[in-house]
Symmetry: C2
Subunit: 243 residues, 2 copies
């Protein structure tokens, strides 16, 4: 109906294809709303069909099953998080590695607190019986970690990473894993910094998950912004981004 509303990736030839793409986009939009309000396990194709003003069996013309809709929403959420992180990181100069690291962390937390159910879909307990198809989800799902690795390795190559003081020795089996990652991604950082980077990665999401999933008590921590900033500062130290 609206001409400029077609922000699809490629121009679609026939009007049928356009209408079809629009319907799928509507389904994803409605699914995102349901996901945001009720959570992944409560996502119902019938409810989406109702909101779409159509009988339940009709949505199966556009989406094979519930799992496929879940995959679309997974990719959608990964990309939105990736965009938020990119925007926050790009707002800072390329050589401000410490600032970029903290901006990445804050962007993840901000998005997660704004979209708890979608964050839960990405980083919470896996949906039972659902296995994300790697072909579609791997790329968007790795945007944040690749961005983090880019910051840390960039800092190392710029000589801005303090040699991680007194870290434990990296055992050889782990060293092989790290070497594989290093060669695949073309990294320069040595084992210890890489291993510490992995800890920083999981710790960042651990802190965010605790907050989003309500693992802190309801009122043990009131100053959560300050707590998270403190954690980011310590994690920056672990990564080697000296204070």
């Amino acid at each position: 109906m609206n001409d400029p509303a077609s922000d699809a990736e490629t121009t679609l030839r026939t009007p049928r294809e356009r209408a079809r793409a629009q319907t799928i986009a509507d389904i994803v939009r409605l699914g995102r709303e349901h996901l945001a309000t009720q959570g992944a396990a409560a996502l119902s194709l019938r409810a989406v069909a109702r909101d779409l003003g159509v009988v339940s069996s009709a949505v199966y013309r556009y989406v094979a099953n519930r799992d496929e809709l879940l995959t679309l929403l997974l990719v959608d959420a990964y990309n939105e998080l990736g965009d938020a992180v990119d925007t926050a990181v790009n707002a800072l100069p390329e050589l401000d590695f410490d600032g970029r690291f903290k901006a990445l962390g804050r962007a993840v937390r901000t998005w997660a607190l704004r979209e708890p159910a979608r964050y839960g879909l990405l980083f919470g307990s896996p949906v039972p019986g659902y296995q994300a198809p790697a072909v579609q989800t791997t790329r968007p799902g790795t945007r944040v970690i690749y961005r983090l690795i880019g910051i840390l390795d960039g800092a190392y190559q710029a000589g801005a990473l303090t040699a991680a003081a007194r870290t434990a020795v990296v055992p050889s089996a782990l060293s092989a894993d790290l070497e594989a990652i290093r060669s695949e991604l073309g990294l320069a950082m040595p084992d210890e910094l890489q291993a510490n980077g992995a800890l920083v990665w999981t710790s960042l999401f651990g802190a965010v998950s605790f907050e989003v999933f309500g693992q802190y008590g309801p009122d043990t921590f009131r100053a959560r912004d300050e707590l998270f900033d403190h954690h980011l500062a310590v994690l920056a130290g672990v990564a080697g981004l000296g204070a």
Copy 2:
């Protein structure tokens, strides 16, 4: 039927009460099995009733609704994790703070990898529409963190915590939270160590969650034991348990 099978908390008078307690125990046991195999969202009272050899409405005589069964399973899982942690920690001398910290971490990870669905119920995305009743879940749910705090504060009081080098300044709003915790639990550790302890806490579960929930790729890390041990070593340093 079996005399010595009654490991209930108190002796139950009438045979009716005994039969009733036994049935509830059976329901919890079956629920635990379903939870372990299919996950929290797929837990079905009807399926439990089938396994119990009884019609679906009959279980409502013993359990008010699905949420109440979920609460029973939550407490059950929290206590099993707490027991595993206690056993692992108590196996080491009281003054081996570093060893006890790492034993706690490994116990959490081991239990989580053995019981991924139950771990997900405790530390994953919240079950939509379910709010855990604090009265029943707070105590078992805080066993691990209290144990961790005990180790760290014990180490501090024994003079075994190295003054956390170059950690960020703790802002005053956060300091108030920490002071409240300190006075409520009777702790001695100063702000910085307490704040670092919180990071260690969330980071531990972040690392475990990444592994249990499959956030690492399928084969980016093969040497996961070594990776986790390395993380524990670094986290021990963050906590102040010098190497």
